[in-house]
């Protein structure tokens, strides 16, 4: 009897330990964000402005474009791939949306075209990667140039002005029905983040994505249809770039083919800061979203401090390396 109760106690202890571990694992990604918030809200010069509701709202709005891109990128990176064409795709979608509105299509259709364009670019990425058996880095590097080029071509190498429609209110900091509190784009972002988190964690498709990223040979052995799944992953990533492009158009009110240059690296950085592994098999939507907000709040805080752009760049660069290093240490301890 005694030994039995001992075993029970030991089991309870194990549970406690794993609970602490779980809590730490769950909190881990938040810690960085909390740290950034604490730092800026304790600096007297910016303290009161930084935590003001209007500032939080504007940070949220600024995050929408990167966040939408990061939702799709999370899937791509977990599957062991990468999408370097994300930012070009965003620019292309914004140009298409402006073009369609200019051409007299209804805003709903224009939005639809924008998103669809992004999806098509993603699908082409996926199809090339699976049918030519090229590494995603190369295919999407090529697409980075192609999509940007096509965007410039369609726009005639200049900005496309378009008449103001409700599409432009998607990113308005003070939304029209004031009970919305935040820009509709922010709500769209939250909605999709929740949906994608559920899909990633609980859907069969999500499990397949993890399996492919963890070990593609095993996934094939277990009857997962690799090509189909990968094409779907890149198409989803493309669709989110398309939506992000629509938001970009909404913010700028013009279709600009030169917008968002280099933004793909921000998107990738967000996913990686949030625990995504470039070798595949690891990552989460929550993590990626926190990654987006860590970078957004840093930018915001630095701007308020009146620090020049290069300081921001240095800090964010350092954060990327530190975040991944910390994540690895955390994982090693978990073993």
């Amino acid at each position: 009897m005694k030994t039995r109760s001992k075993i029970l106690i030991a089991k309870e202890k194990m549970k406690d330990k794993s609970r602490v571990q779980m809590l730490l694992n769950w909190l881990g990604p938040f810690l960085g964000l909390i740290l950034v918030l604490i730092i800026f809200s304790s600096i007297p010069e910016v303290q009161d402005r930084f935590l003001r509701i209007s500032n939080l709202k504007s940070v949220a709005t600024q995050s929408v474009i990167v966040a939408l891109g990061a939702l799709g990128m999370t899937f791509v990176i977990i599957s062991g791939g990468i999408d370097l064409s994300a930012a070009s795709n965003i620019a292309l979608a914004s140009v298409i949306t402006a073009f369609a509105i200019n051409a007299g299509f209804s805003p709903v259709l224009a939005l639809f075209f924008g998103v669809l364009t992004g999806g098509m670019v993603g699908m082409v990425n996926g199809a090339l990667i699976t049918s030519l058996r090229l590494v995603p880095f190369i295919v999407t590097l090529g697409m980075l140039g192609i999509a940007r080029g096509v965007a410039k071509w369609i726009a005639g190498n200049q900005k496309i002005d378009a008449p103001l429609t409700w599409v432009n209110e998607l990113m308005a900091k003070s939304p029209r029905p004031s009970w919305l509190l935040m820009a509709p784009g922010v709500w769209i972002m939250i909605l999709f983040a929740v949906a994608m988190a559920v899909i990633l964690r609980y859907s069969v498709f999500g499990r397949h994505v993890f399996a492919i990223g963890s070990n593609e040979a095993t996934a094939r052995l277990c009857g997962i249809r690799i090509s189909r799944t990968k094409i779907l992953v890149y198409t989803i990533a493309g669709l989110f770039c398309g939506l992000s492009g629509v938001m970009e158009f909404s913010r700028l009110t013009v279709g600009d083919p030169t917008v968002a240059v280099g933004l793909e690296l921000d998107i990738i950085a967000a996913v990686v800061i949030g625990g995504g592994s470039l070798s595949g098999g690891a990552g989460s939507i929550l993590g990626s979203m926190i990654g987006v907000f860590i970078m957004a709040f840093l930018r915001n805080g630095c701007t308020m401090m009146g620090w020049p752009n290069y300081i921001q760049e240095i800090i964010i660069g350092a954060i990327i390396v530190a975040a991944v290093a910390l994540d690895q240490i955390r994982h090693r301890q978990a073993l």
């Binding site: 794993s18 069969v204 399996a211 070990n215 996934a219 052995l221 277990c222 009857g223 098999g281 073993l335």
Partner: protein, 520 residues
């Protein structure tokens, strides 16, 4: 340095070695001694402490207690490099060679002879030639890149590397697990030569017959304790097994009655992308069909073609009643065919995924509702399977890399059961796992065929093929030479067919390598 004088001939002495990992005691007061120029086999089940013991020598792990002396001087090592410098080198199971570099560059890697930062090519070449001469192997030339060598030759290169480093003690951990018979024999020759040069070898292997051939003495470990050290010639394999498993009585090859029914899988002149020639084969319900042959004889390639991992070039496969010349794993899984990969690390397991994911990956359907997984339901199912299969895992959500090799293999097998496969293609299911797990796997196989499933069992370990199969097919260089019921085979005759491609006891030379392509 207090107790200096070792008994005559003792090169290495380990005394009262203990090591704990958390709550588990990996080694408990173990003594071990190695004489100059002897091959000393270290025998035990997986987890008996063999690896820990040699890791202490190689410097990868530090002992908690105990003393080690090498040539009478106390030996301490905190890392593999320090061990190597003192003359103890480990030949790893997973080879540590840079595939793009040449044999010579690999051998001299990290110990380039240099002057003012420039390598002294000539001196190096001489040292390499000397070492290669000692381990003579026709395939190895100092200038060719290592990736062009066979696994066996690569291992010899590793040994040569250790020799250039003036190793006194070589540790070999399962050196033959991925070697062909030919390469194994060559390795044994090299080992004999090394012995004559006064090099001592610690030899770890699960292949007891091999151990008997190559070792002078043996030490059996069980549950971290030393059970016995003795001379190899004075002990039988059965006694060794008895010592390894202890009091637990193990019936190595449990025979379970089963009935053989109609043909469920047939290969008709099947040739896959990586198969040398066409193969004809039929598998019946309730049958275990063993497949023997050397590594690279086409056994794995045949299984992979059947399962749709390699594309079909010629011929057809009949699964049940459906004849097809196309295939993909997802189609085969739909036809209740399952494959266990020979390469657990690279293919069989997604190591970073959880036990639950690995176990259920090939069949999510029972837990699926509107495309979403019901994780609670799955957890219950997985817990049941783990208990049923006696898999030691703390939690179904724990990553699979935390499990021992034997338990990982059981997860891979449990996946096939969970998948409800009726036709199981098992490629080396017992490789590198301990005796207990092996015997458990044999028992499963027996139970499965009793339920009317059919199994193709590829193995390089002949006793297990002879022990559990109904029929055995033997491959030689891509050709299926012969299929016979088990009573018509013995180790000798299988080996003859596998190595020579000829059916023994038949004087006509009817089936030599080059003419063996006659259509059956």
């Amino acid at each position: 340095m207090m107790n200096c004088s070792p008994p005559s001939g003792s090169l290495l002495r380990m005394e009262h070695i203990s090591k704990r990992f958390g709550a588990t005691c990996a080694l408990d007061d173990v003594d071990f001694d190695l004489r100059k120029g002897e091959v000393h086999a270290l025998i035990g089940e997986n987890g008996a402490g063999k690896s820990t013991l040699v890791k202490i020598l190689s410097g990868a792990v530090a002992a908690d207690q105990g003393s080690i002396s090498l040539e009478g001087y106390s030996f301490k090592s905190s890392n593999p490099l320090a061990s190597r410098k003192q003359g103890i080198a480990m030949i790893y199971q997973e080879l540590n060679l840079a595939p793009h570099l040449s044999v010579e560059e690999n051998i001299m890697l990290g110990r380039e002879i240099q002057r003012l930062g420039f390598v002294k090519r000539k001196t190096m070449q001489e040292a390499v030639e000397k070492a290669l001469e000692l381990v003579h192997h026709p395939e190895i030339k100092s200038h060719i890149p290592v990736k062009k060598l066979s696994v066996g030759a690569k291992q010899i290169v590793e040994i040569a590397r250790a020799l250039v480093g003036k190793a006194k003690v070589l540790i070999m951990d399962e050196p033959t697990s991925s070697l062909t018979q030919e390469d194994t024999l060559r390795l044994f020759q090299v080992i004999r030569q090394l012995k004559n040069q006064g090099v001592s070898i610690i030899y770890i292997s699960h292949f007891l017959e091999e151990v008997q051939k190559v070792a002078d003495r043996f030490t059996v470990l069980r549950d971290g304790k030393k059970i016995h050290t003795g001379r190899m010639e004075e002990i039988s394999v059965d006694d060794l097994i008895q010592m390894m498993v202890g009091q637990k009585f193990v019936e190595m090859f449990p025979r379970i009655d089963h009935e053989i029914g109609e043909v469920v899988l047939q290969l008709k002149g099947l040739k896959g992308k990586r198969m040398a020639t066409k193969v004809d084969l039929a598998l019946r319900r309730g049958e275990i069909l063993g497949v023997a042959g050397l590594i690279g004889a086409g056994r794995t390639e045949t299984l992979r073609t059947v399962f749709g991992l390699d594309s079909i070039e010629k011929g057809t496969i009949v699964v049940g009643t459906i004849e097809t010349d196309k295939g993909a794993p997802w189609i085969r899984i739909g036809q209740s065919v399952g494959l266990l990969s020979e390469d657990r690390q690279e293919e069989g397991m997604a190591l970073s995924l959880s036990v639950a994911d690995n176990l259920t990956l090939s069949r999510f359907s029972p837990y699926k509702k509107w495309g979403l997984l019901r994780l609670k339901k799955r957890r219950e199912a997985v817990e049941f399977r783990l208990k049923q299969a006696k898999i030691k895992a703390q939690d179904p959500e724990q990553p699979v890399f935390g499990l021992s090799g034997g338990n990982q293999q059981k997860v891979a097998l449990a996946r096939l059961l969970h998948q409800e496969a009726d036709i199981l293609l098992l490629d080396e299911p017992t490789r590198g796992i301990d005796v207990m797990s092996k015997s458990q796997i044999y028992e499963w196989m027996g139970k499965l065929v009793q339920q009317g499933k059919a199994i193709i069992f590829v193995s390089s370990y002949l006793p297990e093929l002879l022990g559990v199969c109904d029929k055995i097919a033997v491959f030689h260089r891509g050709n299926l030479i012969d299929i016979r019921p088990v009573p018509d085979w013995d180790t000798q005759s299988i080996m003859t067919v596998a190595t020579l491609g000829r059916i023994p006891n038949e004087n006509q030379v009817e089936n030599s390598d080059r003419q063996g392509k006659d259509e059956r």
